[in-house]
């Protein structure tokens, strides 16, 4: 079934086909339509929707349902995401699966409700206290919001980790045609072994994150880091017209779509441009990125250069050599213009 759907609604469609049991959310522009759809759709298929009292409660409800082995999610934007950082640390530290969709808006502070990508570090580098990461997916279209949310649940349960779908206001608010999934996913396997479900079989299961023994806690930290290393197999990127590209744009999410239009415009005028677009931001598709070290590189993003900084770090970690990486960026809710992106490439060739 192909439908015209708003990005924010596509999130809920993807969640339902993933088998999402519960949505907990609090209103915030530009993410509110996710809660609107969840409030209507989840009860219709026998699932749970609760409007929480605040984002802190939302994420802790996700934690609670996840601890019970249920597929739970929330969705929010900047300020709400900040309030959820403590809960995300608890989920990561305790090994509780769950999905958080961030329809990024412009910050810092109250900022405004237009598109920015400035929650990059918060999402990708941990965000809360302690040495942890959430897995981070980077959709760029309504279709990918649906598919990404669906996949986020599978990954969350496979790795027992919080997964962030790092979207933005443009994707959340836009409507595009989208193919609905065909069948609802099977429930994740192996949950009975750890979930606390109010049954005789699960009576011995326990979720706690306090470990006063420093050696025990160091071991848990080492296990977490091993888990993150194992996640590297999930790293993925999309490459567009990259084979003979002299200039390659590096961009994720909505920025990558602007860069894609710039690639086409540049190609039409004889400039060999291409696009490298991470589909996962943690784990980062480092190997694929490092193969581009000999190209002219331009990062396109809607933040102060947070993504570029990560790109540089990935080159340093991957090949111990950092190529020149230009930056085209806007902030405050201003979209990067195709003209500015194309102009940056023209200057390099």
């Amino acid at each position: 079934m192909v439908r015209l759907m708003k990005g924010n609604e596509a999130v809920v469609a993807g969640a339902l086909y993933a088998g999402c049991d519960a949505f907990f959310g609090y209103p915030i522009t530009p993410a509110s339509e996710i809660a609107h759809a969840a409030a209507e759709w989840l009860p219709a298929v026998g699932r749970v929707f609760i409007q929480a009292e605040c984002e802190t409660a939302s994420i802790n409800m996700v934690y609670g349902a996840g601890a019970a082995g249920k597929l739970a999610m929330t969705a929010t934007s900047g300020p709400g995401m900040s309030l959820m950082q403590e809960g995300l640390s608890y989920m990561a530290g305790t090994g509780i699966p769950g999905v958080v969709v961030n329809i990024q808006r412009a910050g810092p502070a109250l900022g405004n409700v237009y598109t920015e990508q400035a929650d990059y570090n918060q999402a990708v580098k941990g965000g809360g206290h302690g040495s942890y990461h959430a897995m981070v997916l980077a959709p760029a279209s309504v279709q990918e919001l649906c598919d990404g949310t669906m996949r986020a649940f599978a990954l969350a349960f496979q790795y027992r980790t919080p997964v962030i779908v790092l979207s933005d206001a443009a994707q959340g608010q836009m409507t595009e045609s989208m193919r609905l999934p065909v069948v609802e996913h099977d429930r994740p396997a192996g949950v009975a072994a750890w979930a606390v479900q109010g049954t005789a079989a699960s009576r011995g299961n326990l979720h706690t994150s306090i470990f006063l023994d420093v050696d025990v806690l160091e071991g848990i930290n080492r296990d977490l880091q091993r888990k993150y290393a194992a996640m590297q197999v999930e790293a993925a990127a999309e490459e567009y017209r990259i084979d003979d590209a002299e200039v390659v744009f590096l961009a994720y999410g909505t920025s990558s779509r602007i860069a894609r239009t710039a690639v086409d415009q540049l190609r039409a005028t004889g400039v060999r441009a291409g696009l490298f677009r991470p589909l996962t931001l943690f784990p980062f598709p480092r190997e694929a990125l490092c193969r581009l070290a000999d190209r002219k590189l331009v990062v396109v993003e809607m933040s102060c250069g947070q993504f570029r900084e990560d790109v540089i770090g990935q080159f340093a970690a991957g090949i111990r050599k950092v190529p020149e990486v230009q930056l085209v960026h806007r902030m405050g809710g201003v979209l990067v213009s195709v003209d500015a992106v194309a102009e940056a490439a023209r200057k390099l060739v």
């Binding site: 015209l4 934690y63 019970a68 608890y90």
Partner: protein, 471 residues
């Protein structure tokens, strides 16, 4: 010889990392007594397997050393949110949120009062010892006036630190809770009363009857700086003056369990029946030149609907489409605009910086967007917003349509957007087939079917005008 075995607890507290029978609680602390009362009642009621205890931050963070039931540790103050989620997603579970006065009445008060107000199917035990025990004895919301703590070294002052917070009495202002009681573990007589109250609250959970709040006054000799007996005396004598014991509310006979949920349909069935329509999948078509458009005006003019109508027509014609509206405060401020892209392949930027086609129904929007139109582009505007002082550009084609006037003359000035649609159709600027546009014209009114006939009437009038007046 036999000693009474405590039921519902582990024989040996191995989860502490040591094979031990001694608890981590200080001598004279009330937590252990309450732990026993809860587990005894759970076992007596046959609820041990069904129970999920949500532990707090505070000394009882280690409750899982002792309780032989499913256990989830919560962040500080968040036990009610965690418990809510467990209760809602596991209907057969008996859910216990175990909290202290700092955890519940300070950092987590909102979560606690909201869960109580929603009438969640759970019991909250709040151990009230007037202090933050685990962090060494700071002032808590329930600390008594004059009580010396690490953060009220001169004694709690009402003028600057407020009065002790009486949670049970506050919760008694709410409609939803079924059972509210305050009891104490300061001495044997009180412990027996508490046993009855604990049992009652758990019976309500067994029967799925709703929210219960049980506050338990409890000595904390360490933080109070007293020995076990003196702290028990303080609990019974000083604390009870502020926090009187008793069953404050008992609606257990009137309360009824939630009915089982209505049978639900499957997800694919739900979407198959949902109000949205199906479209054919878009196909790549290199012969179709991508159109980037902006439709702009003010709220109530059907700006966003016109945009949606165009992408519906595009989707019906198997084009790739994207529609990106104004939203948030701008929309509430009265401005309405949307950017749409219709193409023959995957669409890059959804943002239209330089439209090929601009449709404008107000002067401010014309002033804002006209300078952005691509040279050679087409601008459709309502005749009434043009005039001698209207902005203009020699390098774009301006098509004036008396949209509002025609719409008003044919039944509704709010249908000016439909007249604009006829101009787009007549001039063929979108490259979309007529049947797709006609289909979409009706489809975007599917939530207001009573307007379809009127809308068609305006459409016909608009098209007739276009045929007569536009090339």
């Amino acid at each position: 010889m036999s000693t009474k075995r405590t039921v519902g607890m582990f024989e040996s507290f191995d989860r502490s990392g040591r094979a031990t029978r001694s608890s981590h609680y200080c001598a004279g602390c009330g937590h252990g007594i309450l732990h026993k009362l809860i587990t005894e009642a759970l076992v007596e009621l046959g609820l041990q397997d069904r129970t999920v205890v949500v532990s707090p931050i505070g000394c009882a963070v280690f409750g899982y050393y002792y309780w032989d039931v499913g256990n989830i540790g919560a962040a500080h103050g968040r036990a009610p949110a965690v418990a809510t989620a467990v209760s809602r997603t596991i209907p057969q579970a008996v859910v216990v949120a175990y909290q202290g006065d700092g955890d519940l009445a300070a950092i987590g008060f909102n979560c606690a009062v909201q869960a109580a107000n929603r009438g969640e199917r759970m019991v909250t035990f709040m151990v009230n010892n007037c202090t933050y025990g685990m962090t060494g004895g700071q002032m808590s919301p329930t600390s008594l006036l004059g009580q010396r703590t690490l953060t009220s070294p001169q004694g709690r002052e009402a003028a600057t630190e407020g009065h002790p917070l009486r949670v049970a009495e506050l919760f008694n202002q709410l409609q939803a809770p079924v059972y509210i009681a305050r009891c104490s573990v300061a001495d044997t007589k009180r412990i027996f009363q508490t046993k009855q109250i604990v049992r009652k609250a758990l019976e309500l959970q067994r029967d799925g009857k709703g929210y219960a709040y049980v506050e338990v006054l409890s000595p904390c000799p360490t933080a109070m700086g007293l020995d076990a007996l003196a702290s028990a005396r303080f609990t019974a004598e000083q604390m009870e003056q502020v926090f009187p014991l008793g069953v404050i509310r008992d609606h257990s006979t009137q309360a009824v369990p939630l009915p089982p949920p209505a049978p639900a349909c499957s997800v694919p069935d739900f979407f198959a029946r949902y109000r949205d329509r199906d479209f054919p999948a878009p196909v790549e078509d290199a012969t179709y030149t991508e159109r980037r458009m902006i439709v702009a005006g003010s709220g109530g003019q059907g700006i966003l609907v016109l945009g949606l109508c165009l992408i519906e027509a595009g989707a019906l014609a198997q084009r790739f489409v994207t529609w990106y509206p104004t939203y948030g405060p701008e929309q509430r401020g009265g401005f309405a605009s949307c950017a749409l892209v219709i193409g023959g392949r995957t669409i890059g930027s959804p943002h239209v910086e330089h439209p090929d086609i601009l449709v404008c129904l107000t002067r401010p929007m014309l002033e804002r967007f006209l300078p952005l139109v691509k040279p050679g582009g087409v601008v459709f505007c309502d005749t009434m917003i043009l005039g001698p002082d209207a902005p203009s550009r020699p390098d774009v084609r301006i098509v004036a349509v008396p949209a509002t006037e025609l719409a008003a003359a044919n039944g509704s000035s709010r249908a000016a957007n439909t007249v604009m649609l006829t101009a787009l159709l007549h001039t063929r600027v979108t490259g979309l087939p007529e049947e797709a546009i006609l289909h979409a014209r009706d489809a975007t009114l599917r939530k207001k079917p009573s307007l379809i006939a009127l809308n068609r009437h305006v459409f016909d009038a608009g098209l007739a005008w276009c045929r007569q007046n536009l090339p």
